[in-house]
Symmetry: C2
Subunit: 98 residues, 2 copies
């Protein structure tokens, strides 16, 4: 029971959720790419180290996979761990919209 506390810790932070949003919109970004976009679009004054630590947490939760290429490190989104949430507490399939 409660096999993945890392997952909930990962999505528990607002900045990390914004990072997931960013990767949803544009997958495979580098660290610096994410940094500039977070400050530009979302107004988050997140330093490079802060974003790097956030990405480490997201990677540990399995929500982000990394791919090294030269001196670049590309970050790819993986939403499959989120499935465990709706499997744990089944959502009543009611259409909220008509």
């Amino acid at each position: 029971m409660d096999a993945d506390p890392d997952l909930f810790k990962a999505i528990g932070d607002a900045t990390r959720r914004t990072i997931l949003d960013e990767l949803t919109e544009r997958d495979g970004q580098t660290l610096f790419e994410l940094c500039s976009r977070l400050t530009m679009k979302h107004g988050l004054a997140s330093s490079r180290q802060a974003v790097s630590q956030h990405l480490a947490v997201l990677e540990q939760a399995g929500l982000v996979h990394t791919r090294r290429q030269g001196r670049y490190k590309f970050h790819h989104l993986d939403t499959s761990p989120l499935r465990s949430i709706v499997e744990r507490w089944p959502i009543d399939r009611e259409a909220p919209n008509p």
Copy 2:
């Protein structure tokens, strides 16, 4: 963007997730009922006040609705707020099991 930080805060705590598990198994429990079951089954040495505060957080997130009846207060699970998670980051519909 990020309209419901209360939701992620609610499911961010392990004890609150266990409370959701308890309510999934048996809906409409009172505070004392939850307290004894959490200590019995899950080994959580959660005091009454702690569980009460957890329930308040869950209620604020819309995951738990309460129903007063005399001196009893019954807690009912509502998993519909969880839908916003999978709507925000769509899960690739791949069958992980054959």
